[in-house]
């Protein structure tokens, strides 16, 4: 069992967490959004092999946060509370 660090609760079992998508994938704003930008936001993913920056939710406390992680080694590099990350 891997432990993931919740910024609010500390290290907890991986089964308590749920993946929430790429960090920084901001929702397009405005009324004149081209169709490709919607597809880009809704569906296209970077899906890197190696280090990645992701949104996760700790389901037991309900808090969303950002986690830097390696998708090959599964090593967690850092985790932090969301601070305007989605609008970045």
């Amino acid at each position: 069992m891997q432990l993931f660090p919740c910024p609010f609760c500390g290290p907890r079992d991986e089964t308590e967490f749920h993946y929430g998508g790429d960090a920084g994938n901001a929702r397009p704003d405005g009324t004149q959004v081209p169709i490709d930008r919607w597809a880009n936001y809704l569906y296209l993913r970077t899906n890197p092999k190696g280090t990645t920056r992701e949104i996760w939710v700790h389901m037991t406390c309900g808090e969303f946060f950002v986690m830097d992680r390696d998708t090959v080694t599964h090593k967690v590099l850092s985790s932090a509370a969301l601070g305007g990350e989605r609008a970045a």
């Binding site: 991986e14 597809a39 809704l42 569906y43 992701e54 998708t71």
Partner: protein, 417 residues
């Protein structure tokens, strides 16, 4: 050159002391140019090369594999072949694959050990039976034979299932496809490799793509660990690593890569002669020809390129297995592994030209690529040869994510993914 496999050749070799066998496929040095390059020496890539040569007469083809052929998901699946999908587009696609599988051993002159032992998707409640009836109806309307099983029918094909009164997931019936079954996964890769090689295809292993050669906005070849190789038509069939190659080509795909685990027990005497899937338990099971119980379940829920799998998912799968078949509590697990699968939001594959012209995609099969190998190969070969979709591949183009015409087969796998 490899001779044709037959009872006669076996007999002759017996007389000659088994000294005349040749390697099943050639391993030539890569040439500087080809008519077409296929990236990925798994089932889909090898099948693509075979159908390019067989259906389209294009034999100056290289299959480039970074490791060894069939060493990725082709060697890591649970060998189930079926076509019990819901939407007409999917039925056309998986129906094509299923029909080709039925003639594959003869076509390739290589025994892929297709065993059409039938498969039952269990229903555990009245509501699930209603969905089961709807699925069976949809399959029949689309021309795929299916039956709605009663509890007695399920008991007939899987008598060792947990039918006790206190079972957590009691059996209300099931969806039965009698043509479903299993095939020998390695044999599918090796059979396509041998047949393609006989038609002139170069199979090049230990050859990793390091970059694409892009000239005038079009893909003109690849840089590899064994030098530059050029072609004006390039197909990629690299499953969970599709996003990695897409990044080199300068675009993104609607794919997340996850680990999908499976495991086998020690071999035991014949006890289960069909494929059983329980959506409630999140597990599907069959028995291999060697006697191993082959166990598959849901995805690891953590995006990953680690071909090993996490323990909590394995625990969930084994718990589900024991709920389905308490008798398997005595089994010893022999091996456990994981493959990296390319999961797409609508759980349907992506087949078509990529945003980089001349580069064509066959990816996004997610948790169910093995059953689709003959179709994936046929369709990618058609795209590489003609540059155009046919009616079967058209709905699966990458453009569906912008147009919104998704083909949502999330239920098609039978397991929550």
């Amino acid at each position: 050159m490899t001779r044709r496999y037959s009872a006669l050749s076996l007999f002759k070799e017996g007389l000659a002391g088994q000294t005349g066998w040749r390697p099943a496929w050639r391993s030539p040095e890569p040439k500087p140019t080809y008519d077409a390059i296929v990236i990925g020496g798994g089932g889909h890539g090898l099948a693509t090369a075979y159908y390019l040569a067989k259906n389209h007469g294009i034999a100056r083809v290289a299959v480039l594999e970074k490791g060894w052929i069939g060493g990725g998901n082709t060697g890591r699946n649970t060998t189930v072949v079926r076509s019990n999908y819901y939407y007409p587009e999917s039925v056309e696609l998986y129906g094509l694959a299923h029909r080709l599988y039925e003639g594959l051993s003869k076509d390739l002159n290589y025994n892929v050990m297709l065993s059409q032992r039938g498969m039952v998707n269990l229903c555990h409640s009245t509501a699930e039976m209603e969905i089961g009836a709807r699925t069976v109806n949809a399959m029949q309307i689309n021309g795929i034979n299916a039956e709605l099983f009663s509890p007695e029918d399920v008991r007939r094909v899987a008598p060792i299932y947990n039918f006790s009164a206190d079972a957590r997931f009691p059996v209300f019936g099931g969806i039965w496809q009698s043509r479903a079954g299993t095939a020998r996964h390695d044999a599918v890769a090796w059979g396509y490799a041998r047949a393609a090689s006989r038609l002139g295809v170069d199979i090049i292993q230990n050859c990793e793509i390091t970059d694409f050669i892009i000239e005038g906005g079009r893909c003109r070849g690849v840089q590899t660990t064994r030098g530059a190789i050029r072609a004006d038509r390039i197909g990629m069939a690299v499953a969970g690593h599709s996003s990695v190659l897409a990044a080199k080509a300068g675009f993104r795909l609607p794919i997340n890569s996850y680990a999908l685990q499976a495991c086998v027990s020690e071999p035991v005497k014949p006890i289960l002669d069909t494929v059983v899937l329980s959506p409630g338990c999140g597990v599907y099971v069959s028995q291999s020809d060697k006697g191993e119980i082959v166990i598959g379940g849901g995805l690891d829920r953590i995006p990953s390129y680690a071909q090993r799998g996490n323990l909590p998912t394995l625990e969930t799968v084994i718990a589900g297995l024991l709920e389905m078949f308490p008798i398997f509590g005595q089994l010893k697990l022999m091996r456990q592994w994981a493959g990296i699968v390319d999961v797409v939001p609508d759980s349907s594959p992506i087949i078509g030209e990529s945003p980089l012209p001349n580069l064509f995609l066959n990816c996004g099969w997610g948790t169910g690529g093995f059953k689709a190998i003959p179709a994936g190969g046929t369709l990618l070969a058609n795209l590489l040869a003609t540059g155009k979709h046919n009616d079967i591949s058209r709905p699966f183009d990458l453009d569906r994510f912008a147009s919104g015409r998704l083909i949502d087969e999330a239920a098609g796998s039978g397991i929550a993914h």
